[in-house]
Amino acid sequence: MLEVHLPGLDLKNPVMPASGCFAFGKEYGTLYDLNQLGAITIKAATLHARFGNPTPRVAETPSGMLNAIGLQNPGAEQIISEELPYLAGYDVPVIANIAGSEMSDYVQTAEKMSASPVVRALELNISCPNVKHGGIQFGTVPEVAAELTAKVKAVSAKPVYVKLSPNVTDIVAMARAVEQAGADGLSMINTLLGMRIDLRTKRPVLANQTGGLSGPAIKPVAIRMIYEVSQKVNIPIIGMGGIQSADDVIEYFLAGASAVAVGTANFIDPLICPKIIHELPGKLNALGVSDINDLVGRSWKSWNRKNG
């Protein structure tokens, strides 16, 4: 009923933690058995270790939060040697999120991470600013995103999912460009760019000034984008943005997602992923659905074609 098969990913259920909200699994592993999860998306890996941004790095917003962690991570090699062995002890596919400031960073990181037997797929985080191109984000120009995707595909030993930024005028153009360039799947969405200002200090709350908006607040934007994109591409979508319940998971499937990731909600309820996984079968039964795959894109697929 919950099994899902995507390029490189045979999942016992479609629910995974989102990148950056679960580190490399150890902390949550002390709270529950990670084997319950459909997959695990690990924190963004960069070629070299990064400390990230100064604090404060998070701020609360109505039904959401802002973060500007700044891709803190110990670097690809350390991740492979120090972090992945822990996850190798579980029977859960690992998706490695990779990031960089230049194309060559991404390519080298992709090559290293995809070579690890623990990693089943890469998730290309194209929301990072491209230092060589004057800080413009890789994820806002279709041609740049396509070029990056093609280069990473060329070296990756595993399927590549491209994680789209929602901060664009035309999300369909972005999706089509990376599909054309060889992406095996899409992850949608990354955070919306936002800011909060502290009335007392009169300065932005985050040391980095702007941050990424996540949580339930952004769910309607994510649902809209997945609804639009899923009708225009032929690769599967891992949906995310504000998921906090089994009902939300179903809404994402109806919009066009084939799996989902849970980010911010892990901070609010550390047991949320297993809770959602346990609630899903009952919710599907109540809707008369015997296979969650039947729901993919049902909000736009014609009514008579089952799972069409």
Binding site: K43, F51, V58, D269
Partner: protein, 260 residues
Amino acid sequence: MIQEEMVVTAQTKIADGVFELRLSGRIATLVTEPGQFVHMRVPGESGMLSPVLRRPISICSVDPAHRELTLIYRVVGLGSQLLSNTCPGMKIDVFGPLGHGFPVDEVPAGGRALMIGGGVGVPPLYGLAEALTDRGIEVTHILGFRSDKDIFYEAQFAALGETVIFTDDGSHGRKGLVTDAIGEAAYDVAYACGPLPMLKAVQNVITEKPLFVSMEQRMGCGFGACLACAVHTTDAQDHKGYRRVCCDGPVFRAGEVELC
């Protein structure tokens, strides 16, 4: 470290905008060190203004036999405001105990400890003082508050050891800063919790004796997974280069991390 619904057993205003909250549940039996904290999901009241993230609050003291925690907090924003509206009988989603607290064993048997607290940095020192005096350690407290109306727990601390109160405006106790009295105290180990400028000042004064400081940072997860709370180590050669306040701290040996 568990997540559970704890039951409010008492909610008392103990100073201007400062509340003492008692919570009953299993978490009270799991606390291992004074200075650990809990991460609380404060119930919302109105649809347009509800806290999303949990709020970290230090454990002031713990009564494992009665499965009861005491927290002391100041109302500063939405979450603490809503927390102050909870009444006995209500349930609150609490995650804890979290973090590493004050190392009680650093004080040699028969030794003396100094505690320096400011404002709502004072509460965890109370649990610490209890743990130390239980071990027969002699304790001195130097506690700073803004003004008369902000003072709490003076009698409770005085019952455990010498207690010097400072106020910024001199409306109660001595006028001035807590650092003024450090030189007068005799101690083997010092512990500090309070606002950043106070911690920095204390760290500048106490350079010869072991000092442990408790830090605050905005938090996401509260247990090491999101890196919201990462601070640089002072030692540039440190193999990681950073510590997470939520799980490597909130208490650090002075000089281990940059105070920020």
